[in-house]
């Protein structure tokens, strides 16, 4: 123990509320979650960047903003 991060547990049967530190498995999961989250955010950012790039290229071809939006959205 001694990981410092607390977790509150609400027992829905009894209403009892307890608080404890994360256990070793949960701390390891946190590290995994950090990586998964960063990976997911990068995927989303890349998708957004690709979309913006496509919009810019279409605009460079002479399409109006409405025409670009009709193809790839706003």
């Amino acid at each position: 123990m001694g990981y410092g991060v607390m977790k509150t547990i609400i027992n829905c049967e009894t209403g009892e509320v307890t608080e404890r530190e994360l256990n070793a498995d949960e701390v390891r999961q946190q590290a995994t979650d950090e990586k998964e989250y960063a990976k997911a955010q990068k995927v989303e950012a890349d998708k957004l960047a690709a979309k913006q790039s496509a919009q810019a290229k279409l605009a460079a071809l002479g399409l109006t903003a409405d025409e670009v939006a009709a193809i790839v959205g706003n």
Binding site: V5, E44, N74
Partner: protein, 321 residues
Amino acid sequence: MTANAGYHLFNTGDVLTAAQVQYNLQNQTIMYFATSAARTAALSGVVVEGMFSYLADTNSTEYYDGAAWQSIANPGDITGITTGGTSGLTGGVTSGTADLKLAVTTNGDLLYGTGSGTVARLGIGSSAQVLSVSGGIPAWSTPSSGGMTLISTVVPSASTGFSFSSISGSYKHLLMTWDGILHSNNSTAFDVRLNANSGANYNSMVYYGANTTLTQANAGGASSYNPTVPVFGKNVANAGFNNTNSGYLWLYDYANTSYAKQCSGAWMFYDSSGAAHTQIWNSQMTFDILTAISSIDITRLSGTGTMTITTNGSVKLWGMA
């Protein structure tokens, strides 16, 4: 009998007569007697209307009205307090001290009006009964099955995560609602896990609007509800109006053990670090686990920040029959 003489203005040099002493002075003072019997004896044949006396044995002051001695103690004009049978009160009196009480008899009794100025008593119902209306009057009744039950309420404060545990399987669906979630910094994210399961069992399809853009963000085989768009927000550090994280999440047929669980929900927040700040998410998610859901974790996916409920907010878990 000579009447008392009332007020007389004496002038310098006036000769005081016996009649004046008797009818202007003595008869119009407050006379002292040990008892009423002593007074009767002393004033026999001379008592007249307007006399006052003080009786030492009863410490009472009385006046003679021409026929009898009347007390001037508590001279108010209320001569009785009546509490009718349907007044809702008991303890009325016509003399002495009134000790009024509500006309209830038993622990849990209620009184309700039956007309102008009249009430009736309603005894307490049995456990879990609710107050309803029957035949135009209040009545305890057993609620029919159905409706929503508030299972638990949490108001996180500087929380790094919390869990609804030991959720009864007695409901048909679960609904979680929340509002006013604020993160302590703009680099933290909180998501939802079911049964503390961090396997690749969460398959979600999410549509979200960010400013004027509508985007689809699917997450197949994720280890939480949706790490791309965490349910309890990411970077929600702007406490301005409409910027905190609020939303709802349905968990359908959560207690079944025959097939995967379907969930849907929507949530919104203001991403303090993103380019498109205001984000509104609408999601469908399949949790590929047959086990009944008995716990819901709100877990921190990223960062070191905490979450706190702003004014009037809360996280509530409901059961739907």
